[in-house]
Amino acid sequence: MINLKVNGKAYQVDVDPSTPILWVIRDHIGLTGTKFGCGVAQCGACTVHLNGNGIRSCVTPVSGAEGKELVTIEGLDPKLSKPLQQAWIQEDVPQCGYCQSGQIMAAAILIRDKVNPTDGDIDGAMTGNICRCGTYQRIRKAIHVAADLKKSGVK
């Protein structure tokens, strides 16, 4: 049994400790907002926060999350999710939408840590997240918008 805390809620899961967090979240806990894209930490679709750090859940064994706080797209702090979602809607970012959970989880770390992210900061924080539909230009713009919304206290 592994004890997990996901989005503030405690879970006990009976899985092999080497199972990647992604599959525990999706198949055992049933939260499907976190996506499977590559399985080898190349695309970022599976990005979640572990103790506040963005991680690739497809390659991180669940044993590494024991006793720590996991946050998925479903449980993102509204202080971050609200400005990001509002900006994503304003800029009409998603196309197929499959990568966007991961994009938002990566962007959340960026706007949490940088009040005024530059384009260089965005390149640095977001280059690990692939969008096959090519929404990059809109993601970039939406991150700037979200950072401004966060500053102005959008809830």
Binding site: V15, D16, G33, K35, G97, Y98, Y136
Partner: protein, 723 residues
């Protein structure tokens, strides 16, 4: 369920098959003439169509028969209908259509999404559906007030009696409207009265795509669901000779190991054990006929094939004669590799086969064919097969498969075990899995007169066909030419007195498929690269040279001038920058692009900016058009810079995004999209932005290096200045 829910449910009027009640408008819609794109058959089905459901709560649900794979169908189609319905847009919702002949594609006669046709194929039907609904609602209100319908008007989800100002919402009219007979003919709006069509409208599907609630195929959960991961042959056409599953079966969570026609399926209570189980299989494969397939020798075979005359797709004048007599002759070979579609959501399908039913949940572009496939596998009539279309995590053609293999696998396993099964492909399965954009080889020659005027063009295309030998061949193969292999070349817009385009079919074996922009994904690179070479040979500016050759194609000429103006073609660039131009027509739209590039340290290409102009005729949602152009550019750039599937000893040499690279945030150029005012018939927007990207970028690169890139993807040596 609480009381208020029960109450509101009781209020719904049950009519027809409308689940959840409300007004379900069924229509017999008249034929709307020959589909505009040449070569497509006229509509074959004129059956009842059900596209609207209005609840007593005023919510208008538009039932959308085109799958949402990012192209915006779940917004643009409701926009078309809601405009004619004079709906309150804030009350409009979308719902994926079930599979039914009523929802067949108006041109293709089956339920499917593709060919950049979602809006243009439904433009008439969805407008008529909306207008018919409005007619019935107005008639219902007129009846209620006992006034003439001509004294009533519809506005923002209400019918208003113009004389007295009395007003009823559509929700209030649900019951009465259900009893009104649908009119045989309806009057459509004057375009000046559109309040949604042609305006930038936010997508309806964004909220669920940014909070984790949107359901893609991979997210489907049903009770008792098991996950299957399949070991497929490492060489296309290979077969299982023997296998040992003892080790796999010892892994906790593994439920079954099943041999099937496409390999060995490992079935477990989740993805991870299923994958571990597959990795633990010991399989002996018979590699079959492609065991020695090698990309280099295959390229030599293609070159040899290009020397054959081939099946003639276009033959104006006497190209051979004109070239042999020309003052100046040019020859070139353009080559493009196999490409995987790589949608972000790996392929998957959920099937639940029971003794007397089969239910399928899948992100697909090809519902009708999949229903027939499931019927064939299970022996059940199609009436017992239910397909739920989920969101598609990208399609690009990969989810429109003629043999329906990724649905068939799930149905076969569920049929054998009689448990619900989700088949999940890994990224490696996807990249190894075939159904690629065909490899293509273009042999070109041309003749110019002494002044540089283009006299003759000869092009021989070598590539596989995924149409020959299928039921689509009758429609799409003419005079021995699969039209998809030469589209964009045989119909090039340039005025060339002697033009010869031919096709030689490369041997099949590697499964190939339509890949975003299909034949144009390779023909545009050859045509727009070679025309640039001719401009150079003629000593002309590449824009001016094209412009003169477009004298008989005013639509193209105007767009080319438009993009040149928007891009500032005639203005000098910053030092170290190069620019290139390309124009291409596909799917009823014309797209022109100007790329601006630089090279750093002789080894890194930077695409700074792409100015893109499109003429797609009537626009539904301009913001979606722009988004599709941005996406097409990222897609085309990925192919130009990185995309390549190669073979050695029959095996695909790429496996995941580390060696089958995708464009990333830091590589995305600044994209500026300009939509040209146009009265042309409506074209598509999902694909036409792809073809011009690679030639525009490589033509720009040439101005910096003096080197023509005639083979994709870009190689390191392509960035070194020619000595």
């Amino acid at each position: 369920m609480n009381d208020s829910n029960n109450l509101s449910r009781r209020k719904f009027i049950q009519t027809g098959a409308a689940a959840g009640g409300g007004l379900l408008l069924s229509f017999y819609l008249p034929a709307f003439g020959k589909f505009r794109n040449a070569g497509l058959p006229a509509p074959v089905n004129f059956v009842p169509n059900a596209f609207i459901r209005i609840g007593t709560d005023d919510i208008i649900t538009v039932i959308v028969n085109h799958s949402e794979m990012g192209q915006g169908a779940y917004t643009s189609l409701p926009m078309i209908l809601a405009d004619e319905l004079d709906a309150d847009w804030s009350k409009v919702r979308f719902e994926a259509a079930p599979v039914d002949p009523a929802y067949n594609h108006t041109a293709f006669g089956m339920q499917m999404t593709g060919g950049s046709t979602s809006t243009n194929s439904e433009w008439d039907r969805f407008r008529k559906a909306g207008a018919t609904g409005k007619y019935m609602l107005i008639a219902a209100a007129a009846q209620t007030w006992d006034v003439d319908a001509s004294t009533c008007k519809a506005e923002k989800g209400c019918v208003i009696h113009t004389g007295t100002g009395r007003k009823l919402t559509y929700g209030q009219l649900v019951e009465k409207a259900s009893a009104i007979a649908a009119p045989a003919e309806v009057k459509l709006k004057d375009p000046k009265d559109y309040f949604l069509i042609g305006k930038p409208v936010k997508r309806l599907d964004t909220p669920e795509k940014i909070n984790g609630t949107g359901i893609f195929g991979l997210d489907v959960k049903i009770p008792g669901l098991l996950t299957a991961v399949i070991a497929r042959p490492p060489v296309f056409g290979g077969k299982v000779k023997g296998f040992d599953a003892a080790k796999a079966k010892s892994i906790p969570g593994i439920k079954h190991v099943l041999q099937m026609d496409r390999g060995i399926a490992v079935i477990a209570d989740g993805f991870w054990p299923a994958k571990l189980g597959r990795d633990a299989l010991n399989i002996e494969w018979d590699d079959g006929n492609l065991a020695t397939l090698n990309s280099k020798t295959q390229g030599e075979e293609y070159a040899a094939l290009a020397l054959q005359p081939g099946a003639v797709a276009k033959n104006d004048g006497d190209a051979n004669g004109a070239i042999s007599n020309a003052a100046k002759k040019l020859e070139a070979v353009y080559e493009l590799p196999y490409l995987a579609h790589s949608p972000m959501e790996p392929l998957n399908c959920v099937a639940d086969v029971k003794a007397d039913s089969c239910e399928i949940w899948v992100g697909t572009q090809f519902q009708t064919a999949e229903m027939m496939t499931a019927s064939r596998i299970t022996g059940l009539p199609s009436s017992k097969i239910k397909i739920h279309t989920t969101l598609l995590g990208g399609g690009f053609g990969r989810r429109a498969v003629l043999d329906c293999h990724f649905v068939a696998e799930a149905v076969q396993i569920s049929n054998a075990l009689k448990v619900p099964i989700k088949v999940v492909w890994t990224r490696e399965d996807d990249i190894h899995g075939g159904y690629y954009r065909p490899r293509a080889y273009h042999k070109l020659s041309a003749g110019l007169d002494a002044s540089g005027k283009l006299l003759a063009w000869k092009q021989n295309v070598v590539c596989q066909s995924f149409i020959v030998g299928t039921p689509l061949a009758g429609m799409m193969v003419q005079n021995g030419v699969d039209g998809l292999t030469v589209e964009g070349a045989a119909n090039m817009p340039y005025a060339i007195p002697n033009l010869h385009v031919a096709w030689n079919m490369a041997p099949n074996g590697v499964p190939t498929l339509w890949w975003r922009s299909v034949g144009s994904s390779h023909t545009a690179f050859a045509v727009e690269g070679f025309i640039d070479e001719l401009a150079k040979a003629a000593g002309k500016d590449p824009f001016e040279y094209r412009r003169i050759l477009l004298e008989k194609s005013p639509r193209h000429k105007k767009l080319l001038e438009f993009v040149a103006e928007k891009a500032g073609w005639k203005k000098p660039l910053a030092p170290g920058r190069g620019k290139g131009i390309a124009i291409h027509e596909s799917f009823g739209s014309v797209v022109a692009q100007v790329a601006e590039v630089s090279i750093t340290n002789n080894k890194t290409l930077k695409v700074h900016r792409i100015v893109c102009a499109i003429d797609c005729g009537q626009v539904i949602n301009p913001d979606t058009v722009k988004a599709q152009m941005e996406g097409c550019i990222a897609f085309g750039l990925t192919a130009a810079l990185y995309g390549e599937i190669t073979f050695d000893r029959g095996r695909v040499q790429q496996g995941n995004f580390h060696n089958y690279r995708m464009l990333r945030m830091n590589e995305m150029p600044k994209v500026e999209v300009h939509i040209m005012e146009s009265t042309e018939p409506m074209g598509g927007v999902g694909e036409p932005g792809v073809p011009p990207v690679a030639p525009a970028v490589m033509n720009a690169l040439y101005t910096l290096t003096g080197r023509r890139v005639r083979s994709l993807p870009l190689r390191p040596d392509d960035l070194k200045k020619k000595a």
